[in-house]
Subunit: 79 residues, 2 copies
């Protein structure tokens, strides 16, 4: 089965990539864009089973995300 993991910087945590994008957009002709936050999007395949959601949650805590400064959520898709 496929897991899609979305990782975002927590509210209040400085996001330098987001700030850089926000500052660059007006020079490219895009006005009024605000609150740009840059996170990660991870796709992976894992063995299907009842424990899959629990497994992905653990992967996020241990390796994929940094729970101190990042929030994460994920979706599982049966193929």
């Amino acid at each position: 089965m496929k897991a899609k993991v979305y990782i975002t910087p927590k509210q209040g945590i400085l996001d330098p990539q987001g700030v850089a994008i926000e500052r660059s957009l007006p020079a490219l002709g895009f006005e009024g864009v605000a609150n740009v936050r840059v996170g990660k999007y991870i796709e992976l395949e894992l063995p299907a089973g009842d424990g899959a959601a629990d497994e992905v949650d653990k992967m996020c805590h241990k390796l994929l995300a940094n729970p101190i400064i990042e929030d994460f959520r994920f979706e599982l898709e049966t193929e």
Copy 2:
């Protein structure tokens, strides 16, 4: 309105971050995980309007993604 942009490395493009994660998972006790692909997830707010989708598409081409090596898709949410 809010835009959520998902950027992934194109099929066939080497994804070193994904490879690194895939190799690290077994050591942490996660077996059988395959096809890990690491991309970016960007949230931003922009002025609502008919042209919003077109605007985000242009932002992706010009700044957010590298269309040569990355695929992107996005969703718009009215708040």
